[in-house]
Symmetry: C2
Amino acid sequence: MGLVIQKFGGSSMADPDRIRAVADHIARTRRRGDEVVVVVSAMGHETDDLLYLASQVSRSRPGREMDMLITAGERKSTALVCMALHDLGVEAHSFTGSQAGFLTDGTHTNAKIVELRPERILEALAAGRVPVVGGAQGVSGARDVTFLGRGGSDTTGVALAAALGADACELYTDVSGVFTADPRVVPSARRMARVGFEELLEMTATGCPKPAMRSVEFARRQGVALHVRSSFTWEPGTWVREEDPSMENAVVTAVTHDTGDAKVTVQGVPDRPGIAALLFRALADHDVLVDMIVQNTSAEGRTDISFTVPCEHLELARRSCHERAAELGAVEVLGDDGIAKVSLIGAGMKSHPGVSAKAFEVLAAHGVNIEMISTSSIRITCVVRAEQVEQAVQALHDAFELDRPVV
Amino acid sequence: MGLVIQKFGGSSMADPDRIRAVADHIARTRRRGDEVVVVVSAMGHETDDLLYLASQVSRSRPGREMDMLITAGERKSTALVCMALHDLGVEAHSFTGSQAGFLTDGTHTNAKIVELRPERILEALAAGRVPVVGGAQGVSGARDVTFLGRGGSDTTGVALAAALGADACELYTDVSGVFTADPRVVPSARRMARVGFEELLEMTATGCPKPAMRSVEFARRQGVALHVRSSFTWEPGTWVREEDPSMENAVVTAVTHDTGDAKVTVQGVPDRPGIAALLFRALADHDVLVDMIVQNTSAEGRTDISFTVPCEHLELARRSCHERAAELGAVEVLGDDGIAKVSLIGAGMKSHPGVSAKAFEVLAAHGVNIEMISTSSIRITCVVRAEQVEQAVQALHDAFELDRPVV
């Protein structure tokens, strides 16, 4: 007999039919002999609806009150799943984050878990009940309701898995796992049976939408095995675990892409110490999220600095650079929101030279120009024209034969 | 400087505009120098929507989970009012029933308040904040969320008024007070500036829809002055207080009516001890809510027993009577859902004979036949044909000159 955490996202809870399907799956898991602790998100788009409602009522929207409002969504979900379980003869008790023992700091709308005291969850399990916990919520030292932020339900699941020593944390969503590329772009993309934490973190950082990066990071630190799977097909999905050191890693595991970024180029700045510091301090002071940074070696004592930012930060980034252009001695500041990033990820890259060379050759053969390059030990990212990115993803996926099952 | 409890019902919270209007009123009350503790219901028809949602998900709907679900409505309201207050520069903190210190028994869906420990409310007031409390909710000894039932927000307001020694509990709703008759039926019906607890209790028991009877009873026991008023016009409404013993009471205060009842007549039962007991035990065992009971003196050793029940209990009541008809020795059981009740209420009736006589004369003069009569010391209720009830209400209102202001 094992213990699993089953976390159901908003799409898994979208309507009464889906909630009953979730309850049915929980009941089946129990019948197979496992103990289950359930974590639920708010139904469908309820969190967005609540944010919109708040925006209709108030301009200031203080964090303490936003958290009280938003957490009502998960609270409803917990009760509804318990009712549906009750219909199936499974005893279940709903718990808010506070009742489940999630103590957090007081950073409203984006609180961090400080401690988990899951006494009531353990009591419920001991009494043969299924505890159903509201995701992404807790209580602060000031006894106020707190919200862990978007995607925080995954974090709730991982924290419970770690505290209760669960065998796995199952993250149910509307996709059936983690894929070698976005299946909408690459029809032959393959669901991966397993992926390492390090690889998945690089993937979520470069465009893979699920699971939430924060929870993957947390699961890695806590040593919690994740299982990303579908609440629509219920088939086994993708296991996320520490890479097995006894196994050879695949050289390339996946191709990701992201069209949400824009590029800023500051042209002709003097090539001397302190210039980059001045530029990125200005951006940081305006809360601009900078992702890739590339600086070429200089010609005639001047250089260009390019960086990417989320599209919605482009105007702010340009303004920040223009403000400091004189100080920087820059010739020009250019913004470009017609770019996209394509990334190749694989833990085996560390020990296999030549992956970058092959990747660049593939892109060149397809007439895709590379505007920026950035790498980590297990990732290569290229900035290309947005209109060429899907072609680039397909070409790389084909060239590295990612549609072929790993033996 | 005083302290008032302001309780806002669902219609007062129906949409973002109304929520901002509520916040504006609270802010004005504070500027006039009073401290305010706010109690809010769920927005508009949200409680009904949640009940419907639960019915779509589950057949069994266990009480513990229904309470977790339903109380999400008031929770959202508390947060939204606080946000709107914040926009107006008024510091406010939301509190769930549990956070506000409402300890209840464990009777889910209809819990009773056992104790109120309003420490956090007092702390908020001391810090210059407006506490905004979720109505109709608390926490049980088992630390589970409980719901006080429909209309329970009024009870929350009264309990806070009593515990904090507030000057008044203002109940804001979509009507501007308590009227001498339903203004839809009697255009000249007058809003009463004041009414006694005893009279209002008789009125709510006989068809006056607001405020909730349970909270009026509770306010009387706790000696809390109620002020029933409108959150649409904001004009002063009706004060509900203990009758002033130094004042002469009005003989007749109001006419109420109710079309939601049906009549059952058990004909020809033997006139001997134990028959009524047998009949009403059978009804009680089927949870039939019996209101008026009338038994005439017998003729030839047999009598008729008539009683009224809510229309939705009529079939159950008939079945219960038929089951026992042989045992009762009854000749026939008749059901009639074409009736209505009209009631005349006035604390001065106690000391003024002849009110009944005049009432019956008025009804007779308008061709209204009386099918049953029941009285208390301050109320006369007649059962009449449903199609004549509005005419009866108008005639009695005219005859007792209830449209004339009390001097």
